[in-house]
Symmetry: C2
Subunit: 226 residues, 2 copies
DNA sequence: CGGACTTTGTTCCTGCGTTCACAAGCGGTT
DNA sequence: AACCGCTTGTGAACGCAGGAACAAAGTCCG
């Protein structure tokens, strides 16, 4: 494995990475449908983005299309999967088996994208032993042990807000370097640890704000109430 | 209600609106703890953002702090709530009562932020009649009726991917103008309708990508494998 | 075999978001 | 009453993402 195998694109913007994951999902659907090639326009439409932006995103991986024809679906799919690191299955732990945690653990879409939950943890003894998505729930005291056993580096936090920070601290101490946090608090982590905050009520509030603004049309200096 | 009541800030960037919702949540916690005032530094730390950025965000609402002192917690909370439109309760419908839909419908955090689910809809007759979060599940055929009854303009879609687009079309035809979509497809909507896409597996894949890049340190021209 | 059409890859440019840094203003203190 | 320190609010610069337009390249057809 020479380090000069990839001749381009040292750094890929985070916004582009997120879109690449979407492209990969669309391509998987096209491959299942038996499609051999796609144009940037069709792919962009299915992904909900601008065609030129899609081509720029893909160009970070180096040239991977054929001019005048389009992109070969299986080859592009393979290339995206390698770039995103989907080829190797990644072990994750999920802490907090409430409604949301159970929904995530039972979602089959993660397994097909290279993620496997090797540990489902909860503090409630009544939930320990339940089997969700083929994995048994273990007590949260096993956190460090599970992380060490499987070399876990990615964790999903779906605990109540008051305990999210302490769970996060334990995860980081155990060696986890990447966390998706659904609890509505901003986690404090040392440098080198990535946190992605997913806040469901914030999404709704942004929509409500845009919705309320839509109701008020400003024409010149005059406010028109429809 | 004169239109010159608010002397500033005609347009608020969407990124700022999302952060304002976070500030509002932090402020509510501080108010419950009995705090009377906060500095931008403390508030920014709790929200996980830059202090200067926080002050700029708040400045879109006009001056609302006291120099040398900080921000009055109750007053700022009230101001944010008004700006985000939390004062008036907003009626929403939720389509797709699977694991994720049930988790969202049962989440008490929405109710305290001005949202009430007036309709929970599902296509599965076995789920119809279940009571989640105090509301009974109704058949998806009632969609148009529920939207019209309550004047709903906001909808949450948690259906399986194959039916998300058709559900979306029905929602838009019924008058819904804002949609949060959890199904892993890009919804096609006419102009004037806002869609916020929440893709849980994309979040994980972005983390996995950053995680895999963290494993490779590039020093000068040399690649160092730890 | 050559030309024209189609589609990619790239470059430029515009606009937005974020960050830094400084001036303005208020409370506390002497 | 005046000074000093602290915090807000704002102005400017930087960097980045997004979009449009153009050039390169390959295929299909005459």
């Amino acid at each position: 494995m020479s380090e000069s195998r990839e001749p381009r694109a040292r750094v890929i913007p985070e916004a582009t990475v997120a879109r690449l994951a979407v492209y990969l999902r669309v391509l998987t659907g096209l491959a299942d449908a038996g499609r051999a090639s796609v144009s940037s326009g069709e792919l962009a439409s299915a992904a909900g983005v601008n065609p030129a932006g899609l081509r720029k995103d893909l160009s970070y991986l180096g040239p991977c299309g054929v001019r005048g024809v389009g992109y070969a679906v299986p080859a592009l799919r393979e290339r995206l999967a390698r770039a995103l690191g989907v080829e190797q299955s990644r072990s994750c732990v999920l802490v907090g088996m409430g409604n949301l945690g159970s929904a995530l653990a039972g979602y089959a879409g993660f397994g097909t994208r290279g993620f496997s939950f090797v540990g489902l943890l909860d503090a409630d003894p009544a939930r320990v032993g339940d089997v969700v998505g083929g994995t048994a729930v273990r007590p949260v005291d096993d956190l460090e042990q599970v992380v060490a056993e499987h070399g876990v580096t990615i964790a999903v936090v779906t605990t109540p807000a008051p305990v999210a920070q302490s769970v996060c601290d334990r995860l980081v101490d155990a060696g986890v370097r990447s966390i998706v946090n659904f609890a509505p608090v901003a986690l404090q982590v040392p440098a080198g640890v990535d946190v992605r905050q997913v806040d469901l009520s914030v999404e709704l509030q942004v929509l409500a704000f845009l919705d309320q603004q839509k109701g008020v049309q400003v024409v010149g200096e005059q406010v028109v109430l429809p």
